[in-house]
């Protein structure tokens, strides 16, 4: 199954993907949660199709962020608890690259599947083609930021038994820009305007998040290894 030789980064990425796939179906949990929330909202606000189309971007963005959160607390915690983190920390792979590998693995096993499901859920909300495409693009561009910022929260709380409760509190405010730009792009298209500026801002945010968060995450991991 694994190739004869793989560099350290690739091997960690592959391992985390394998682990995600083998523990409780990987993306299945996040996708189910996503779909469930998308189902509950119309039950809550009523089935006014025009209203639903209007709020689709925001609801689906928030639902996607919450779904991605579900698996975040285990991002570093699993390795921390069974002693793998020490081994990884001593390997030739820099801790920052370790964090980046885990962010990528998280996105591939959570953010990306959510993005792929979103057009289907957009149907439930009576969203037209153009805004659906925008929604898809915004999630594609923005979910890496969710994994990146999430990794910071995950590394800060990795030693907590019930860190799962604090994690959302820490990272949701920091993810406000992603929700604002992402859902905002959809609304712009609904109003007949171009989404370019919004998606551009979102891309900048994601890029910055993915670039910088490995440093914060690595610092937190070092901190916790010294315990």
């Amino acid at each position: 199954m694994s190739p004869a030789f793989l560099n350290p980064f690739g091997t960690l990425l592959l391992r985390d993907l394998k682990l995600a796939a083998r523990s409780g179906g990987g993306a299945a949990l996040a996708l189910s949660f996503f779909a469930l929330v998308a189902t509950l909202v119309p039950l809550g606000v009523g089935a006014d199709l025009k209203l639903l189309a209007r709020v689709a971007g925001g609801i689906l963005w928030v639902a996607a962020v919450l779904s991605a959160l579900l698996s975040l607390d285990r991002l570093f915690q699993g390795d921390f608890e069974d002693g793998s983190l020490e081994v990884i920390a001593l390997s030739p792979l820099a801790l920052e690259m370790t964090a980046l590998a885990k962010i990528m693995a998280h996105w591939l096993s959570t953010g990306l599947p959510l993005t792929l499901l979103s057009p289907v859920l957009a149907l439930l909300f009576n969203l037209d083609v153009a805004p659906t495409v925008t929604l898809f693009l915004s999630l594609l561009i923005g979910t890496p930021a969710v994994s990146a910022v999430g990794a910071i929260g995950a590394s800060l709380t990795l030693s907590l038994k019930r860190g799962g409760l604090i994690l959302p509190l820490i990272i949701l405010p920091l993810l406000a820009p992603a929700v604002i730009f992402g859902a905002g792009a959809v609304r712009l298209v609904l109003d007949g305007m171009g989404s370019g500026s919004a998606l551009g801002l979102l891309a900048a945010f994601s890029f910055g998040a993915v670039l910088l968060s490995p440093f914060a995450a690595a610092a937190s991991v070092r901190l916790n290894l010294g315990g």
Binding site: T11, L12, L19, G78, S84, E86, G226
Partner: protein
């Protein structure tokens, strides 16, 4: 320091290539903390830890870490991966090619396709040992290496340790049992 308590003071020791050092002490004396300091996870409140090699000196924790093979209390094994996958991961992580030999040397060749969750405690330890073999690090830090192993397993570890030192490696082990290597010993 553990919390606000000083664990040990005025420690000074030297271990050279081919030597083994046994760190002894009661539980809670700080054996694990000392090992973690040497590994670079924990910073000493005062003092220095220096690794000298043919390439030069490294006192920086992260640099030092690249020369260290760590065997802590836990095994670092993922229940969902098979033995072979786990070992390949360790090998590739350390920039080495996958090596089927290592499994033979620790007596786990027959369990290669078994998911790690089905391994016994002794088998898990052997797999962790195999990791030390494939990562080819000069300095081994072992925390209670003989724990959870039966006589055969203990014999295996002793043999691997002797070979490691024989090839010029260094071993620092926290242990209650004698290492049987004509080693130095440090009492905390």
């Amino acid at each position: 320091m553990r919390g606000d308590r000083k664990l040990f003071d005025g420690l000074s020791f030297r271990v050279t290539a081919g030597q083994a050092l046994a760190v002894e002490g009661a539980n809670g004396a700080g054996k694990t903390s000392l090992l973690r300091m040497i590994a670079g996870f924990l910073a000493p409140a005062a003092g220095r830890i220096v690794l000298k090699s043919a390439e030069g000196e490294s006192a920086e924790a992260e640099e030092r870490g690249k020369s260290i093979g760590w065997l802590g209390h836990q095994d670092g094994l993922k229940p969902q991966l098979t033995v072979r996958e786990q070992l390949d991961f360790f090998a590739h992580l350390h920039g080495r090619k996958a090596d089927a030999n290592a499994l033979e040397r620790v007596g786990l060749a027959r369990q290669a396709e078994l998911p790690c969750r089905y391994l016994s405690a002794g088998q898990r330890r052997r797999l962790a040992l195999a990791r030390l073999l494939v990562s080819e690090r000069p300095v081994w830090l072992l925390d209670e290496p003989f724990a959870a192993l039966d006589t055969a397993g203990q014999g295996l570890i002793a043999q691997l340790m002797a070979r490691h030192c024989g090839h010029g490696g260094i071993i620092i082990a926290a242990t209650h049992d004698p290492l049987g290597l004509g080693n130095e010993s440090l009492k905390l």
